[in-house]
């Protein structure tokens, strides 16, 4: 009470509190004083000397405490109003127009489509193509729900996704490579699994020289790793790798520099480097030779399509973009990303 009286009411808010505390619930004054905030603190400091035992909390006191911070209440109201106003004005301006395409999906496909989108934008002034990632499943789900104009998936459609339309823009193939001087010409799938899971550690066990096998594996997160694991039905914890590499070029250099190494890389890079004279050779899978041509026709088993997916038959801008992404004019972009263009 002493504390309350030492404070001069210098603005309106304080005045209100002052009037309230004079005319209001005077029986509960001690509660107010032990209450919260700077008033409470300075008041209780002086007041507690006089009445140290008063620390009750009643509904009235709580109500009063709510009244005690009108300043920040107002601040909040202002902020909330401001925020919602800006959001409303923004969202009304954000109607998707005929000049914008949104694509979401596979992180493997996204860098390729991003480059296609840049070229598409430069050929169609005023058009914007936004490419977002999130994974193949997300791309398919977004296309299904209509959140994206086009989804991207680095796999074929599953049976339950039959209502979607898929358009392959490229293929991704992986092949097993050995050093050129290695006498082995082919390995069965079972032998490759045994080598990668550490059951076979010497080339003599598969018909080669008596030399230890250097297993070169890809770092986690690489799409080639996923495809390799999926095809050979391995999990990444089963693999006993001697060398872990990042990109395709690094894998090719590692195998070319070690005559006892085995690795797997993207087929486009491997074929280009092998024909450029780098000391590697590409192993067939089953009876199918590892070549870009076989990936392009889809006969090479260690490969997957890179698809654009739409909910309904594409029209307008989406149709134009899909047509562009499947045309010859982007084949250089596809090769730059180490994928294989589809030849009709």
């Amino acid at each position: 009470m002493i504390g309350e009286n030492t404070r001069l009411p210098t603005n309106r808010i304080d005045m209100l509190i002052e009037i309230d505390s004079v005319f209001g619930n005077s029986p509960h004054r001690p509660d107010t004083v032990t209450g919260s905030g700077s008033v409470g603190k300075k008041a209780s400091a002086t007041c507690c000397m006089a009445r140290p035992t008063v620390r009750r909390s009643t509904a009235a006191a709580r109500f009063r405490r709510l009244k005690e911070f009108p300043l920040s209440n107002r601040l909040f109201t202002c902020l909330v109003a401001l925020l919602s106003a800006s959001i409303v004005s923004c969202s009304s301006a954000n109607n998707r127009s005929d000049h914008q395409l949104v694509l979401t999906g596979s992180s493997t496909v996204a860098p390729l489509v991003l480059e296609m989108a840049k070229r598409f934008e430069s050929q169609h002034p005023g058009v914007r193509v936004d490419v977002q990632t999130g994974g193949s499943s997300r791309g398919i789900a977004d296309a299904m729900r209509g959140l994206a104009d086009i989804g991207m998936a680095s796999r074929s459609l599953r049976e339950e996704e039959y209502e979607l339309h898929a358009f392959a823009i490229a293929r991704d193939g992986v092949c097993v490579i050995l050093h050129r001087d290695n006498p082995i010409e082919a390995l069965t799938d079972a032998q490759i699994v045994a080598i990668y899971s550490g059951e076979i550690v010497n080339w003599s066990d598969v018909g080669g020289h008596d030399a230890p096998i250097t297993v070169v594996n890809k770092a986690a997160g690489r799409s080639t790793l996923e495809l390799f694991l999926e095809y050979f039905d391995l999990s990444s914890t089963e693999i006993r790798a001697d060398v872990v590499i990042g990109d395709n070029e690094q894998g090719i250099k590692t195998v070319a520099g070690n005559s006892n190494a085995i690795g797997y890389v993207s087929i486009g890079t491997a074929e280009f480097d092998a024909s450029a004279g780098i000391a590697i050779k590409l192993l067939p899978v089953g009876t199918v030779a590892a070549s870009v041509d076989n990936v392009a026709t889809g006969s090479f088993p260690l490969s997957r399509p890179l698809n654009l997916v739409t909910r309904s038959e594409p029209n307008g801008l989406a149709a134009t973009f899909i047509e562009f992404a499947r045309s010859d004019s982007v084949h250089d972009l596809i090769r730059e990303q180490y994928f294989v263009p589809i030849v009709p």
């Binding site: 504390g3 030492t6 404070r7 001069l8 210098t10 603005n11 808010i13 304080d14 209450g35 919260s36 905030g37 700077s38 008033v39 409470g40 603190k41 300075k42 400091a45 709580r62 405490r65 005690e68 911070f69 300043l71 920040s72 601040l75 909040f76 902020l79 925020l83 959001i87 923004c90 969202s91 301006a93 954000n94 998707r96 949104v102 992180s107 493997t108 996204a110 860098p111 390729l112 991003l114 480059e115 840049k118 914007r128 936004d130 490419v131 977002q132 990632t133 999130g134 959140l147 997160g221 690489r222 990042g246 990109d247 395709n248 070029e249 993207s266 730059e336 990303q337 180490y338």
Partner: protein, 277 residues
């Protein structure tokens, strides 16, 4: 003997932490410094980021930070003042707010990303945009900012408030002229920590501000942040490692710049106050 063991332990722990940091920094500088140039900072990325620079990405990151701090600073300051000055530490509402902030501070960032995607992008219709990303970041940064600011308000001695009351200052004047300046260092610490968390974020941003590496023309454009770019180049783009390191180096330099500016501002502020008071 026990003392010596403790000393050895403390020193080796500190050395370990320092050497890990230096090793990490050294690795990034070693592999990234070669790529760094003025044109790297202003050019657009080409060939999925393997070539070209990070100009638009730097701008997107800056805009994201601006939105994030512009929203979180007033709200954070307001809430901190409410918690520290207008409610006692036992107040039920204050406890609820504090509890929810502590829960929020521990939520993994991917959840913020999914929330931001569902709420800002889809529900509010902002789409993949810098605004969505910045608002999501603001949600992430708020708990850190509020708790640190609140702590610094609480650490202001009660004598200040008593003195102000004795002089007959109004509560608003006390707050603006006395408590706020005294609490500024804590606010800046919270700001620096929050900025660090925001700049380092990938999971919350990939679903909200998106992946587009075009120069943003408005806050409603999708924009890629530096850390998303680093993530994409190192995990997703074969042959992007060199530019990933260079971008990581820029990210670290940016953080050091922000921290340096913050402590410089704080130092100036404190000196000015010492002279005028």
């Amino acid at each position: 003997m026990a003392d010596r063991l403790a000393t050895i332990f403390v020193w080796s722990a500190a050395l370990l932490v320092t050497s890990v940091f230096l090793w990490l920094l050294g690795g990034i500088v070693w592999s990234g410094a070669g790529q760094l140039s003025w044109s790297f900072l202003i050019d657009s990325p080409r060939n999925a980021g393997r070539a070209g620079g990070i100009g638009p990405i730097l701008i997107s990151t800056g805009l994201l930070l601006l939105v994030c701090l512009g929203v979180s600073l007033p709200i954070g300051l307001g809430t901190a003042i409410l918690l520290a000055e207008f409610t006692s530490s036992t107040n039920r509402f204050g406890r609820l707010v504090r509890w929810s902030l502590d829960v929020l501070a521990g939520v993994p960032s991917i959840l913020f990303g999914l929330f931001g995607n569902a709420f800002f992008c889809i529900f509010l219709g902002l789409g993949f945009s810098i605004l969505s990303g910045g608002l999501t970041l603001a949600c992430m940064v708020l708990p850190i900012l509020i708790r640190s600011t609140e702590a610094s308000f609480r650490s202001v001695p009660d004598e200040y408030r008593l003195g102000a009351a004795a002089l007959g200052l109004s509560r608003t004047t006390t707050l603006l002229r006395l408590l706020l300046p005294t609490a500024i260092p804590g606010l800046i610490v919270g700001l620096v920590l929050g900025t660090g968390r925001a700049v380092a974020e990938t999971a919350a941003l990939i679903f909200t501000s998106g992946y587009v590496d075009r120069q943003p023309t408005s806050l409603l454009d999708s924009g890629r942040s530096l850390s998303v770019h680093v993530y994409d180049l190192s995990m997703n783009v074969a042959g992007g490692d060199a530019n990933a390191s260079a971008t990581a180096l820029v990210l670290i330099l940016l953080l050091l710049l922000i921290n340096g500016t913050a402590s410089w501002v704080m130092g100036r502020w404190l000196r000015k106050r010492l002279i005028t008071i």
